[in-house]
Amino acid sequence: MNEELRGTIKTGLIAGVVTLSLGMIGILVAFNKRFIVTDAVTLADLLLFGMAVIAGYLGASSLKEHSMGRRLLHGGLAGMLAAVPTFLLILLTLVWEGIRDSFINVEPALVSLLTLDNENVVVGGILLIVVFGVLGLVGVGYAQLPVRFRRPISMSLAWTIGSGVMSDILIGILRPRMSNDTLRSLFGSTGLQPVPFVVLFVLLTAVFFWWQQGGQTRYQTLRQNFTPRQQKSSRRVSISLLVIFLLILPSLLGVYLSEIFNEIGRFVLMGLGLNIAIGLAGLLDLGYVTNFAVGAYIMALLTSSSQFGPENPWSFWLAVPICVVAAMFTGFILALPVLKMRGDYLAIATLGFGEIIRVLARSDALKPVIGGAQGILQIPAAQIGGFMAQVMGYILNPINNLLSRFELGILATNSNGDIVFGNPPQLYYLFILASLLMLFISRRLNNSRTGRRWMAIREDEDVAAAMGINTTNAKVLAFTLSAASGGLAGAIFAAKLGSIFPSSFELLISINVLALIIVGGLGSIPGVIVGAFALVGIPQLLSEFAEFRLLLYGIALIGMMLVRPEGLWPSEVHRREIHSHGEDETAVPVSVKP
């Protein structure tokens, strides 16, 4: 057997095992109700038959030789092999009656899906292999396309399918702006209608093709030929457009997407804070939820009108600074015992703090003070009232009146003339404000002497000390300042929810924040934002996938790191190491010893 054939067989079987897995863990059946193209193509079809195309594509493109016949042969073979494990499963269901007692998702619906609804499952299974073989050939054909066609087609296919998957989100955005009939002609109850699907696909392909075939260069030349003054004004226009865009965003997106933006904002805040500890100072903190929890609980204790709040509840704005300071104080106190620890010892100690907070929050011991399992209720939303609100109302109301013609708006006053940060579009402005503030602070610190000290410690702690840096103080400062942002996030979070329960302060939060700053690009401030969009925003949008969401999240984490280990938007200095000489000098003892 020659090398190439073995490669093709391997490719085909791997694709086959993946297909089999998709079936056995229930994804296919679950997604078979979810249309991409209404009443025609489901997500399950796409996954199932997509595997065959991919197998064919990979089988063909790994060949060195270019003869068409061999390519078709290998592609077709890979496609067919991709159906073989599934076929074996079908056969297995015939002999093993009780298979479902063990593999809960091997159900009749799966078998009928896999056998293309054939009465006779063996015939159906063989049919599946044939179909897979043909689709493998399609994959070969795709591989044969010149790159200049292939790329636009892939891109527009991805976008079109994405629109189909996200149809309910799109409907949410478009509903206020379109008549029901128009909407119904575009979307089915799930998925895009066939005609719009094709139109969109063709349109996007054309656009991408044009862009690639000259549009991009033309745009770039245009920009290059700007005079300095033009450049300056174009930059000014861009920035003001960006600002306007950010201001009207919530009304553009609607309530639900604003809510997702707020969730992203919460994680951006935490990410910016943790980025100080990990990205700048190299202190691997796995207990960031501690600061968040402190901020949230202090906010609840100060402003709640329940029995846990003070007799005269504070206003949100007065309580926020206290929350931030309290979080910083926690960061400071918890930094002291862990200062001498390095690397992973630090990680586990901070993880321990996070767990301690989590347990204490729900404990009976502290129930009289912070509510234990029943949490703290009746936390009022943040609001601006009185004179301040009046002044803002004079500015905001005319703008809103103007914008409302376009179904848009910005921060609004309610009927009493107060500004209440109660619903997501209003809260959005609070998050934007807080995020911009923290962005500003992060940037300032990043580009200052303090930031340099932290980076020096991250690179090599001993040498940093030899340069005259008081490393102890700098590390304590990093923990303290890093906590501030978490406290702020917690404070807004409590006011946003109106009630807090211990279940909001799990280890998963720390892990999520850590993941987003690394996926975004460690030490990079824009990376935090991109990371938060990728790891908080997208999973929210994927709520369609319900119980498979975390499975996809796991795959996405692995995939993103494999493709871009330096992060989605790395800092100027690519691929920064966390520990100076990582593995040899400052690392903790590492040998496998007796």
Binding site: I348, I558, H579
Partner: protein
């Protein structure tokens, strides 16, 4: 010789504070008699159940520590290897065997089959994880594999949830682990004793393997210095895979032992033991095999005995709920006294 600064002051206060709380709690317990009145046999029960739980932590911690030793990465997915072995062997081997009546007729053979299938699954999952999620990132910044490990952890949890469902699975009752056994007039759970003994045997075997065999030496060489090991003709990738295999086997064994003691499983069962085992590995001194064993036992025992011993005497409500607080406080306390863990290698002050 160094001057005393505010940090040292705080650390001393912290140490004195914790020791004070502990002493106060014990005073309350034994002298003032606050809380329940325990007999010697009760205390022994706390101790033995902690020891049994700790043995499981230790077994899982071994895998953590070995992988850390060669790759310097926290393998967050290790708890999932443990879960994979336990779930698969239960669903595909243990329950069918029980239904067919084999568990009662050939308990030892059935047990052997269960152990084998668990180890096999754990190893398969571990090798796949290493191959796909870790190996391509061998030269990436250190935190990147940590993220893929977290991703792998999510993936495997929900993969096995998809395969076997999310309900709580019962594990068959084995006659030889049922009931109690008496030593020196005191009763012990047979299952606890079995777990402790098996763990000891497995850990001893591992120690011998790492010390005595050629592969063991290769693992140690790779842990010491990968480049040098390559020069010495050691296949580093292969050695790392073997390390994963050995670590995952321990996890597989631990998975079955866990099933024997607690007799119930579900797809999230790996997460908490995973975190605890990681803690144990660090507590003992990460990278050290006896350290992992010691750390695991310490953690198990302190979790069991801590609440009644330290907290009840203080009159704290719901003291058993706070066992994690005790465990992690002790961890921090230990790391303050010994930043390198209980038997971690001491860094010769600072390296210049």
């Amino acid at each position: 010789m160094r001057r005393f600064n505010y940090i040292d002051l705080v650390l001393w206060l912290f140490r004195i504070g914790i020791i004070g709380v502990v002493l106060w709690g014990m005073t309350g317990k034994f002298i003032l008699g606050i809380g329940n009145d325990y007999t010697i046999s009760d205390w022994l029960d706390f101790f033995v159940s902690g020891l049994s739980q700790g043995s499981l932590y230790a077994l899982i911690a071994l895998g953590y520590t070995m992988v850390y030793g060669v790759l310097f990465m926290i393998n967050f997915a290790h708890g999932e290897f443990f879960m994979a072995g336990a779930m698969t062997s239960t669903v595909l081997v243990a329950l069918p065997l029980e239904n067919a009546g084999y568990v009662e007729r050939f308990p030892w053979l059935s047990l052997l089959a269960i152990f084998l299938s668990a180890v096999l699954t754990s190893v398969l999952v571990a090798v796949l994880t290493e191959r796909i999620a870790y190996r391509p990132l061998r030269n990436a910044p250190r935190l990147v594999p940590l993220i893929t490990a977290i991703g792998a952890s999510f993936f495997w949890q929900y993969y096995f949830r998809g395969l076997f469902g999310s309900s709580l699975l019962p594990f068959p009752e084995f006659p030889m682990f049922d009931g109690k056994i008496a030593f020196w007039g005191l009763d012990f759970q047979k299952a606890d004793i079995a777990v402790i003994l098996t763990s000891l045997v497995v850990m001893f075997g591992l120690q011998q393997f790492v010390q005595r065999t050629k592969t063991g030496r290769a693992i140690r060489a790779v842990a010491e210095n990968k480049d040098a090991a390559t020069l010495m003709g050691i296949d580093v990738n292969r050695t790392i895979t073997i390390t994963f295999i050995v670590g995952a086997s321990m996890a597989g064994v631990a998975g079955v032992l866990y099933s024997i003691v607690f007799r119930q499983l579900n797809f999230v069962m790996g997460f908490i033991p995973g975190i605890k085992a990681f803690t144990a590995a660090v507590l003992g001194g990460i990278g050290s095999i006896p350290g992992a064993a010691l750390g695991g036992l310490f953690l198990g025992i302190i979790e069991a005995i801590g609440p009644p011993l330290f907290l009840e005497g203080l009159g704290v409500a719901g003291s058993h709920q706070l066992k994690d607080v005790i465990a992690f406080t002790m961890l921090v306390l230990v790391l303050i006294f010994r930043p390198q863990g209980i038997i971690g290698e001491r860094l010769a002050e600072k390296k210049a």
